[in-house]
Subunit: 351 residues, 3 copies
């Protein structure tokens, strides 16, 4: 069996944030993902990771991520272990160790590195104690000690594989997305949600030279370091990055809209002295009118609707919008997760 | 590798109830199951579903079902995902949605359809809130939205794979079972149990032209639509269907007896205004004498003992009966689960 | 594909305790493990258990054991089912049956024997109700009823695969370990721990003719039947077995030291009338000075540090010792778990 030329192209690299990679590298990922998608649909076997093992460590539950990684590595000839913290001694940062219940990430990462070929981690929200950035530190700690690639399946700062799936969906519609208006907008939900998706969205949009508009009510600001990185991307790649506070204004003439809930960071450490979930929900509840409806879609430039899933129907979006077969990319984005993850696995674990 | 001629014979069909299929189709399943059994025992590889993924969604725990499906798809070259509701956002009917904890079945089914090749579901009892028929509605809702086959691993109305394993065990003993007396009898247990097994039993027995006798105390009636379907089967396939209320009377001259507990439907919606578990158990406790003993077996026509497992030893049956190597089909039925499930998977997912 | 000559050499045997095997058989396991390690590191495929299924039943959580077994069988072409008791009807000894919640081990073992190729079990501590020997009885009960090999993934008496990994690490350093001083020492932890590791350690050390010194405070005696077996091993294989009660004395001139916590058996049945966890912890807490430090390592004959993992850092051992790359075998032992388990699986399940 001949390996495709992208196998091992990112050999041994961790995949924690799209912005750790060059635009050229991300484009190679998309090219690989499209090759794998074609082969998947034509049922052409792709045993590029024969005999390789992926350890999936889920501190949070998941539908898309778990099933797309597990099916993906299997379609590549490998095998995934589904690990939930209650089944192992919870791998933990040094300052959070609880004797006889936790095991240091340093030890877990080094042991797993002896048995298999990559470690994938999901951790945010309660699992990261709602101290924003703590989940990302767990992922970085794994990367520090692991001698095999670490893959970020969503932490409390980034969701890089979602961003890859999203830019794949966008470039399917607009092969050269430069100058296209991409709106990443807050949308209401009563639930608590991490910043990872909007933050990764603005980073990938600006990396591809899009005119990215971030729309949110006051209090829903993204983290400063992300805003800074998005602006730098816009400068480097010839796009633009703008922040507005009105959903209608943002949607005007948009080519792609991504209305998605996240929680206001000012209620959580390190931006607040304590974790204030009730305060966050109460504050969110003032913005129930931030819902994506057909009326809003009518303002766009025949724009495409996007969401990472699961969407809170009736809160973030109305059923008629998300289920609209003309312009909703919802299920394409979900499917692309499979293809981009297979691509990154073949590139980092293969060859 | 050459595929057997039964691969893909039911391509894309859901498998929710044996009565959704013709007698001829069920016989093809049994023929395929016997071919797969022979090859399994001879260790002849059967990679007929190479690279295919089965999503197994267990709302209830399981020994036989989980292990036979997971081992089965692996023996066919595929891979099963073991999904428990706590690991995903629980897939839920529209009227039961809980924001941020559940995800609509419509969305889950459509996403999984993008990643793999079949969805298998088990849901009854507490997981279906003891509203009889609600578990089956969950399975039907998956089937409605899924573009890949949905397999019923037992809901609160049907257990079709058990029925297939049972008729395989019966036809191993009696290749032409027409006219053989098949007793599906209530047997005592203190636990709450769904109607699925007895209902699927009377349907498969009548489909094969057997003289089916359903025996139970008053209050343990099966659902009307099942009784009606069993009678129609008996008419169509030249057997008979009769209901009696005495275990001894039923066992007289029987060729196969299947004494098995289920709970009286009159204590549960929609047959009752509320879920009354205590009432059901209290009522069940009046029928401790409905136990399968050697004395009862002596009344049969050298009849075979059957049970789907797990049997409540000392309640439904005595140890000497279930462990009798001459006439107990208990472990054969359990083993057949593997073979019939592999057969249906190859027929619906293969080719 | 040609099978190695060790495939099937122990065909059908259970692997419950190293002392159930001859020294020659254990040496064959190590030889097979080294062959598999070489091939693993050279990425030479080893599909010696193609299509075979391992059922892993974890009553306790695990990092090393679960991941090394699951990755190991996959690297051999097979597949492992991860089963936790809450996902099945808990397989239970006859005297502990709870109707509708448990299923007899006799039934579970016989059903699984129909579907796959081996059953691996972990059970100790709370899962075995802290009645020492009860976990081992569960494992023996499985072995009694199973017609496929049963593998002991650690019970409350033995941890045979750890012992194999340990002797592999020792014989990597000292190919002929006869006469080498091997210290199995108590080390402090505030947690409750089974006797399995130290008991399997003294058995494997004496089987290999080492001068085994067991060191512990009063009250931490191993079980009499193990002491007796260790002495018999020492007599048979030309080594020695001695018990001391001072950590410094034990470490003097040692070639290998294995400082590891276990709990005093006198606080648990059958050595006590009731389970007294608080009493055990309180008693353990008197021995916080039993910690492996660099000062103690300086007393050895350039000795190697060993531990089965997870180590309680700061209690059993200081970080500088366990992370010392010159003399710590910690990660080698962990890695060897993979190789020895693959070896035993190929020998018992293969051919």
């Amino acid at each position: 069996m001949e390996l495709p030329r992208y196998a091992g192209l990112l050999r041994g690299r961790h995949f924690l944030n799209t912005n750790d990679f060059t635009r050229e590298e991300i484009e190679q990922v998309l090219e690989a993902a499209r090759d794998l998608r074609t082969k998947f649909r034509s049922r052409i076997p792709t045993p590029y990771l024969q005999g390789k093992t992926l350890f999936m460590l889920f501190y949070n539950r998941s539908l898309r991520t778990r099933n797309s990684f597990e099916a993906g590595i299997f379609q590549l000839g490998g095998h995934a272990h589904f690990l939930s913290p209650q089944d192992v001694y919870t791998p933990t940062l040094p300052e959070d160790m609880v004797p006889y219940q936790t095991e240091s990430i340093a030890d877990v990462a080094r042991v797993l590195s002896r048995y298999g070929d990559a470690i994938a981690i999901r951790i945010y929200g309660d699992a990261a104690k709602w101290h924003i950035g703590r989940g990302h530190r767990v992922v970085r700690e794994f990367a520090k000690w692991s001698s095999i690639p670490v893959l970020n399946m969503e932490d409390d700062v980034y969701h890089p594989f979602q961003a890859l799936a999203d830019i794949m969906a966008i470039t399917d519609v607009a092969p050269n997305p430069r100058g296209k208006k991409f709106v990443v907008s807050y949308a209401y939900s009563g639930g608590l949600k991490p910043l990872a998706v909007p933050q990764s969205c603005v980073l990938i949009g600006t990396m591809f030279g899009m005119d990215v508009v971030l729309a949110h009510p006051p209090g829903f600001e993204l983290e400063d370091h992300v805003i800074k990185a998005a602006k730098e991307n816009a400068d480097r790649y010839g796009g633009s990055f703008e922040i507005v506070h009105d959903m209608r204004e943002a949607f005007e003439g948009a080519d792609f809209v991504y209305p998605k809930a996240w929680s206001p960071k000012g209620f959580f450490p390190p931006y607040n002295g304590k974790v204030d979930k009730e305060g966050a929900v109460e504050y969110q509840n003032k913005f129930k009118h931030w819902i994506c409806t057909q009326e809003l879609m009518d303002l766009t430039n025949k724009g495409k609707y996007m969401h990472c899933g699961p969407a809170d129907r009736g809160q973030e979006v109305t059923d008629d919008v998300i289920d609209n077969k003309e312009y909703s990319l919802y299920f394409e984005q979900a499917e692309n997760r499979l293809h981009v993850q297979k691509a990154v696995m073949v590139m980092t674990m293969g060859g």
